[in-house]
């Protein structure tokens, strides 16, 4: 399932960890990077690859909020909903995104382009309010800024 380059990377990583179970998080990240989410068959694959019981793979996937068991949108938007962002107006940002994209937190738009998630502190409190689209942080947001950002995402 994982491509050659990633399998090579796993071999390199083995040098840093004393057992294969410890590679679970890095390998799950690779799966998610390649497939967009972690399906049941992917979990079986990882279980066999690392010789870790499937139950444990499932346990880990369900524990960490960033591992997705269903596909997310091409652009996955995380809106920080924590204290500093709320003091700086994140509620209006979340509401605007819901209206503009026509989806609620936890949903994917019908064309598969967007998904939305309200998340806990993103660790960018000094530049609140903040959203993350994929790995990219967008800071000190206003509704106008968000519209510009979304307009530029094709």
């Amino acid at each position: 399932m994982l491509n050659e380059e990633k399998l090579k990377r796993i071999e390199e990583l083995k040098k840093y960890y004393p057992n294969s179970q410890s590679l679970l998080l890095p390998v799950l990240w690779m799966v998610q990077e390649q497939e967009g989410y972690i399906s049941e068959s992917a979990m079986k694959y990882v279980s066999e690859l690392l010789k870790v019981p499937l139950s444990q793979v499932l346990g880990v996937v369900t524990f960490y909020t960033m591992f997705k068991r269903k596909p997310v949108g091409k652009y996955h938007i995380q809106v920080c909903n924590s204290i500093s962002c709320s003091l700086c107006g994140c509620s209006a940002i979340l509401e605007h995104l819901q209206n503009r994209l026509g989806i609620k937190p936890g949903e994917v738009s019908s064309d598969g382009k967007w998904s939305l998630e309200a998340v806990e502190c993103l660790g960018s409190c000094g530049t609140a309010p903040v959203i993350a689209i994929g790995d990219e942080y967008y800071e000190e947001l206003t509704i106008e800024k968000i519209d510009k950002i979304l307009d530029n995402l094709k």
Binding site: N19, S22, P26, L28, V60, Y64, C121, C125, T127
Partner: protein
């Protein structure tokens, strides 16, 4: 209740040492040009025991929240053991209001790497893991490129700088779990398990990563280490507050004009930080309340801030704690009930689910606070909240339980009138609707 203090006017002069005002330090050549990795050279010529003694003398205390003396922590590592030893550097940074470690990863990653090598050498570890929260993928890439540079120059790897000391450093990416910032949960996460905190004892120096002796330090703590080696414990221990010395990264966010991370000596007045470093409150509104070091620290009312300083001892006597030094400032417009509802949601969401008091209690507290937010509070709800908080505290494996109970208790204690008012308003609305 809202407090408007006389504005302090002192801004301390501080030559930044954790986040120096030098462009391009994240590139290794530039870092070396400015004296980088000289502490490593010095350290490798020292006896590991002497390094630990030097760090002890410097009085460096952990910057992750617990303020535990770093040198003492290192000295707990067993000397006569056949087992491998490990260092973990904690950059899980997920406490609301905390965004300081990210600055180090971005602007001064080599000082962190240098500190990690020295710390590993001091405790006798040949492998170190830097655990970075999953959301920081961009910063993980920055750190990884710095780490690759350090490998290429022979600062990390086999036979460092011609010595017989070898070390591998690996960056481990988290995947969105606040609890993994708890040291034993962090180790479980590296081991490829659910991030459940472990029972203590045994403590990490006895039974850490894969059952081997392990030390866990915060990113900022480790970034202080090269300074101590280069300039000496004597120099370091004279900076800032006597019992909690050194430079510290203070994050200020919320209702301030100039939020951000500021490096300063410990022991600055909180009001100085708010008004002089962070530019004061927008429209000059009064300060309603402050979380001095992330949401797990007891809230302080505006009128309690006078004279309180950003160091462990001063904040302790003020009835709070320094935490991660990530201040959240709330002005007179802030809705304290909405604030605590969000705080409660955070702990409910982040509870790992292992201990019943925390798993059930955090959810229950959040549901009750939602009632307050929706004007549906019952007359008994305030006491119920205090009762639940009291039953979580001290009854869980890790400190997340305590951290969820403290803000609820401290906010009710200090803003009880607002809760009572909300109960009254709720009762009135309910009776009107009937």
């Amino acid at each position: 209740m809202n407090f408007k203090p006389s504005k302090p006017d002192k801004v301390v002069k501080w030559d930044r040492a954790l986040l120096p005002e030098i462009q391009g330090l994240s590139k290794i050549d530039n870092y070396i040009l400015h004296g980088g990795y000289s502490a490593l050279k010095k350290a490798l010529e020292m006896n590991p025991y002497d390094i630990i003694e030097e760090v002890k003398k410097s009085n460096l205390r952990g910057r992750g929240g617990a303020c535990f003396p770093t040198g003492l922590k290192w000295s707990f590592m067993p000397k006569n053991t056949q087992k491998p030893k490990y260092l973990c550097v904690n950059s899980d940074e997920s406490e609301p209001g905390t965004f300081k470690d990210r600055q180090i990863l971005e602007y001064n990653p080599h000082q962190l790497i240098e500190g990690a090598i020295i710390a590993s050498y001091a405790i006798g570890a040949n492998a170190a893991y830097i655990y970075v929260r999953g959301e920081y993928n961009k910063w993980i890439e920055m750190l990884q490129s710095a780490l690759s540079e350090a490998y290429a120059k022979g600062f990390v790897g086999d036979g460092i700088l011609g010595s017989n000391y070898s070390l591998n450093i690996c960056i481990h990416r988290g995947a969105g779990a606040y609890v993994c910032g708890e040291e034993s949960a962090l180790m479980n996460s590296i081991e490829g398990k659910r991030g459940y905190p472990r029972y203590k004892p045994p403590f990490p120096p006895q039974f850490g990563l894969w059952g081997c002796p392990t030390t866990i330090n915060n990113v900022e703590t480790i970034t202080n280490v090269p300074l101590i080696i280069n300039k000496g414990a004597q120099w370091y221990s004279q900076i800032g507050a006597e019992k909690h010395p050194g430079p510290i990264l203070v994050g200020v966010s919320g209702n301030v004009n100039n939020p951000g991370v500021f490096e300063m000596p410990t022991g600055e007045l909180l009001l100085d930080i708010i008004y002089n470093w962070a530019g004061g409150i927008p429209n000059d509104k009064p300060i309603k309340a402050v979380f001095p070091g992330g949401t797990s620290t007891m809230i302080l009312r505006g009128d309690e801030l006078e004279g309180v300083r950003m160091d462990a001892e001063s904040l302790k006597s003020a009835g709070s704690s320094i935490g991660t030094a990530g201040m959240i400032v709330m002005d007179s417009n802030a809705d304290i009930i909405d604030v605590i509802r969000r705080v409660a949601h955070f702990y409910y969401h982040e509870s790992c689910g292992q201990c019943t008091p925390c798993r059930e209690g955090t959810y229950w507290m959040f549901k009750i606070l939602e009632r307050f937010a929706n004007f549906e509070a019952k007359a008994t709800d305030i006491e119920l909240l205090l009762d639940i908080a009291g039953n979580i505290e001290g009854n869980t494996v890790c400190a997340l339980g305590d951290a969820s109970a403290w803000p609820v208790r401290s906010i009710i204690m200090k803003f009880r009138d607002e809760f009572e008012k909300r109960v009254f308003e709720s009762q009135t609305r309910i009776s009107v609707s009937r």
